[in-house]
Symmetry: C2
Subunit: 331 residues, 2 copies
């Protein structure tokens, strides 16, 4: 297994950069049975962080948009701030930095919002100071940022950082294994307007499981991984729906799950799973056209439940987070 | 994922065959964390069944060698007999058949002895009557034979039947998924002379496991599968040793396990696991030369424990069971 360990492409001399933008995508953790160990990066939505050198010392978050005022501008209490501070320490940099965070991801929706911000913060600082660290060298910073709100785990930050589908055995770079992403995988997402705090979604999980269920779950994960390598999307979909441990414990927190699954299947959706800790639901689709029909069906379900929702058709992001230079010459 | 579903090659008209030989190999179930769901066919040892048409009606087992007199010659109480009877029923055949069973596998050793005989019995009958059934169509018969002594599971019979490494989600043909076998995989085996009845090895397993252990186990299985696809034997070996559920519960039944693992590692063995329900231990090796050193080390360990043992260097069998015609023309 090879690690994605190359430095960010297009790295330039640190002195040349005044202002950068980093984009980090939403992620779907678990993929059904792969609770805490599988994650997938999406092409969209994404968070953006703009980082600029300033004369004022230290790191300041000068603006946050898209969060409805819910996120802290104290860098030590913001996942992008924590990961940015971590990278500044890694690089031994004392220069002043100001950051603007544009939240493209809904909060607490099961799409890895805190992870996307953490990854964008780390990527932005690294790019601002010459891309001295490889992506996987940024993993510690991202996990640190994620830990601020969602616990110490890498199933969202790792795919947001390196893209594609990732097997996450732990929280360190050497425990992160990129898996292949089948071409043609289209995803229909729906985020109903209900709060499912990650802490609650974790609290409802059983502490122990029957051995035979654990064995079935491992078999389903094995089949997911095999189907990723063979590019067999129908088998992938069947295996993703074979979760017999996590979804049964959480289903009552996800209004519309059974109805969305049935409605999606009726119009050609292959499998519906909870994205991360929910409430976002994700349907695996064989084409854009079917995915469009699935989101229509999703909208109908939540309309009948009198619940507002946001739908989206998207696909895996092969590359994960990206950066670009906004102002190349330091003033 | 594709199923191995072609009919046995070289099939000929049923009337042309008087006597056939079928060979079915030993198998290593579990491969560490893949308890009940992963199995690997070995090039050797193997069981042989010779089946011949006779004038006497029904199925008779006329001879069994290599079993030390421990196996029944009553076809309904012998795994090869049960699977043979099942295939005779499937084919609607009333002709008389006599079978000779040459046990090449030690009994109750964790190498799939009952499965090898069940597979050889089914393959022999199918070949004797014109190979009308595909290999996977023989799976039900083999599972039926296996069930006589080892419970209703397919993690030994499936790889013995189709070869290579197999993911077994259930006991039916559509739940059997061939996985790739990495080239260059060499296995050192040692079977110490201790009895570990499968029933006892199952009885010591926990009924429930901590969720976090189940998640780690699924991650290890995922890594095994990924490493099989990438052909990364060191990663495969590391993942195989990551079983935190089954081995800890069974280790006390396996004398010499820790010592064999340490001794094998010292001479270049990459990972040591219990084969099936034991007591056979299997060390993954990167070369024949290292495997030879590993079996020497294994012998030393059991000599120091005053336990007789049998060692062997072998490799995966890509094809599983085979048949050949001994007498082509029915008399």
């Amino acid at each position: 297994m090879t690690h994605f360990d190359s430095a960010h492409p297009g790295s330039i001399n640190a002195e040349q950069v005044q202002c950068v933008e980093a984009i980090a995508p939403a992620t779907i953790a678990n993929l059904g049975p792969g609770f805490d160990i599988l994650g997938l990066a999406l092409a969209e939505p994404f968070d953006r962080v703009i980082a600029e050198r300033t004369d004022a010392p230290g790191l300041q978050i000068t603006q946050i948009t898209g969060d409805g005022g819910r996120l802290s501008r104290d860098p030590t209490r913001n996942t992008a701030g924590v990961s940015a501070l971590y990278v500044l320490r890694q690089l031994g940099i004392r220069a002043g930095v100001s950051m603007i965070i544009h939240k493209g991801l809904p909060l607490a929706s099961g799409l890895g919002s805190s992870a996307a911000s953490a990854v964008a913060g780390a990527m932005a600082i690294n790019a601002l100071f010459g891309d001295q660290l490889s992506r996987l060298q940024l993993l510690d910073a991202c996990v640190e940022g994620e830990a601020l709100v969602s616990g110490r785990h890498a199933d969202n930050v790792a795919p947001a950082l390196i893209g594609g589908i990732v097997l996450v055995m732990g929280v360190t770079a050497e425990t992160v294994y990129p898996l292949p992403t089948p071409p043609g995988l289209i995803l229909a997402l729906v985020t109903p307007n209900v709060a499912v705090p990650t802490a609650q979604a974790r609290a409802v999980l059983p502490k122990q499981v029957d051995l035979h269920l654990a064995v079935q779950q491992a078999a389903a994960v094995a089949q997911v991984v095999a189907a990723l390598y063979t590019g067999d999307i129908p088998t992938l979909a069947r295996a993703m729906e074979a979760d017999k441990i996590i979804e049964p414990a959480r289903a009552h927190l996800m209004p519309g799950l059974a109805a969305v699954r049935a409605a999606a299947a009726r119009v050609g959706g292959l499998a519906t799973v909870i994205s991360g800790a929910g409430p976002t639901l994700c349907t695996v689709c064989p084409s854009e056209e079917i995915a469009q029909r699935v989101v229509d069906a999703m909208n109908d379900v939540y309309k009948s439940l009198n619940l507002a929702c946001v739908t989206r058709v998207t696909r895996p992001s092969p590359n994960g987070a990206t950066t670009r230079i906004i102002k190349p010459v330091a003033n």
